[in-house]
């Protein structure tokens, strides 16, 4: 397929141009396709909620089964933050302010992003592999042939589970992070407990906590849509399923970072309009 405009562009280095052209076109087609997939999911979700017996197993898989890894992730982020900030803050003589910096980074940024990353690996890949297997073994076709809609039956419950449970798990990661950071700073590094909490309270507000949770709704939606889409469009064979699972994680992760940047800028703009004077650490 060589249209006239591309041929004239391709006078020199045609190969490169056509290759890149193909990549760009494929990318645009894939994004359009994904957009359509999301719209169909949302329209089915609004038409009719899935039954309890299809919702519950998905909520269990996403919510309950992820608790241990998310708790572990949260605890370690808190402790690692303590280790990393301690040295530099001590040089400045600000080690009593550690609580502020640890808890602020945790609830605004690292808790939501790392919990979502962990869940993209645990939940996203599993969903892509499961739906991919169903595609490869014709179970998705079987659903349609028996008068069920695969998007309604398979995607909507997974989307709802991720949308509501990933923010919940993020709250839990935040909590465990606060506990981990406190434990390491106060019990191991020996910073005064009173100062630690006092500084945390002074600098970390409800806005910070909510902004992190707000972002995690978008992370949850992104993980669900990317993973289900990859599973639905799985290539044949065991290799196809493996690729779908890997791609689900990689694309979810990239999208999480992009959403994080975009929403971060937006949230800062909102913050600046409401609290223009800001709060200084010093």
């Amino acid at each position: 397929m060589e249209g006239p405009p591309r041929r004239s562009l391709a006078a020199s280095g045609q190969e490169l141009v056509t290759d890149w052209g193909a990549v760009v076109i494929d990318g645009i087609v894939a994004i359009g396709d994904l957009g359509l997939f999301c719209m169909r999911t949302i329209s089915w979700m609004l038409t009719r909620l899935p039954r309890r017996e299809t919702l519950l197993p998905n909520f269990y898989q996403v919510g309950v089964m992820s608790l241990p890894v998310v708790a572990l992730t949260g605890t370690f982020i808190g402790m690692v933050l303590a280790v990393q900030s301690y040295g530099q803050f001590r040089q400045l003589g600000l080690e009593t302010r550690l609580g502020a910096v640890i808890n602020m980074s945790l609830v605004r940024e690292l808790g939501p992003v790392l919990a979502a990353t962990m869940l993209a690996g645990r939940v996203g890949s599993a969903m892509a592999a499961e739906l991919g297997t169903m595609r490869v073994t014709e179970q998705i076709d079987a659903l349609s042939s028996m008068g069920a809609n695969p998007i309604h039956y398979l995607v909507v419950p997974r989307f709802l589970a991720c949308l509501f449970l990933i923010p919940t798990l993020t709250i839990m990661a935040d909590f465990m992070g606060v506990v981990g950071g406190y434990f390491f700073t106060v019990e191991v590094l020996g910073i005064d407990k009173h100062h630690y909490w006092h500084n945390s309270e002074q600098f970390v507000g409800v806005f910070d906590l909510l902004s992190g949770i707000f972002k995690s709704f978008f992370f949850g939606a992104a993980i669900a849509m990317i993973s289900c889409y990859r599973g639905f469009n799985c290539m044949p064979g065991a290799e196809g399923v493996g690729r779908a699972a890997t791609a689900a994680f990689v694309y979810s992760f990239v999208l999480i970072l992009m959403i994080d940047l975009f929403l971060g800028v937006m949230i800062n703009a909102v913050y600046d309009t409401f609290w223009p004077e800001g709060v200084s650490l010093l």
Binding site: P57, M134, E138, Q139, D141, A142, S145, M146, G147, N149
Partner: protein, 279 residues
């Protein structure tokens, strides 16, 4: 309903495939296929692996959209139906998938009951009765109902798939390679079940197979598909259409090779690739 409209209904073929082309990317799988299946007929579609038999079957029930051309089921153009209407029409089909396509996460009982649950018109006890009846019909004991599909043998899975496809009393049964991968005895059991299904439920059937015994025993009509890649550009893709008895007396060498299971010129092609690689 007046007499005249009743006869026109009888006369419309249940399935009419009109000049259907299916292309995946640059690969043409079906090219100008035209096929009508009258009510009550049992049609076998034969052809080598990869020639597009499954794709044709899926096009007939609207799982694959034709790139061009159209498929009519009982007069309805499937491409024009809304999602909701298509769902309603699909209840009139029963599709037995090649590897059964049972839902791994559900038990056998839940699998067989699945189409009924989607309609939600029967009570749970009625559903149970129907599931037992269908399983008995395909010769499976009541005890399988709580097993997971992974615990069953290939022949049992096929039969569960058949029971699931039959539970809505479909008018059209589609079988995708029902005997492939089964031992000769189990293959014959499946053949008998297909014959019995036809007698008891008065269905129209389309059987995709490359098992000649099935074609001879069960079908009243056989069509053979040939891969597009091996055809000249003007040749039709359906290279045989007739009764099973006519297969043996057919003048087309390609049909005879398939029926008798002879590699023919494929051997010389293989030789060619080997010597090409040596060079």
């Amino acid at each position: 309903m007046s007499d005249s409209s009743a006869t026109t209904r009888e006369q419309t073929p249940l399935v009419a495939v009109q000049d259907v082309h299916v292309t995946f990317g640059s690969q043409s799988v079906l090219r100008g296929v035209t096929l009508t299946v009258p009510r009550g007929q049992t049609l076998a579609i034969i052809g080598e692996s990869g020639c597009g038999k499954t794709v044709l079957l899926k096009t007939i029930i609207g799982l694959v959209r034709p790139t061009t051309g159209l498929v009519r089921f009982d007069g309805y153009n499937l491409a024009e139906l809304s999602d909701r209407e298509l769902t309603r029409q699909r209840v009139r089909f029963g599709y037995v998938f090649q590897n059964a396509a049972l839902f791994d996460s559900l038990t056998v009982g839940q699998n067989v009951a699945f189409p009924l649950r989607q309609q939600a018109s029967e009570s749970p006890s009625q559903i149970r009765e129907l599931v037992f009846a269908r399983l008995a019909e395909v010769g499976l004991p009541k005890s399988v109902i709580s097993k997971k599909p992974a615990e069953l043998s290939g022949g049992m899975r096929k039969r569960v798939g058949l029971a699931r496809a039959l539970i809505m009393n479909p008018e059209l049964m589609l079988y995708d390679e029902p005997t492939t991968g089964l031992d000769p005895i189990m293959s014959d059991v499946i053949n008998e079940l297909m014959l019995r299904t036809r007698k008891q439920h008065d269905v129209t059937s389309i059987i995709v197979t490359h098992d000649m015994r099935t074609a001879h025993k069960v079908a009243d009509r056989v069509v053979m598909i040939y891969p597009v890649g091996r055809l000249e550009s003007a040749e039709p893709q359906l290279i045989f259409d007739g009764s099973p008895g006519e297969l043996e007396t057919c003048g087309d060498r390609r049909v005879l090779q398939f029926v008798r299971g002879e590699a023919g010129e494929r051997l010389t092609e293989m030789q060619q690739t080997f010597s090409d690689r040596d060079l």
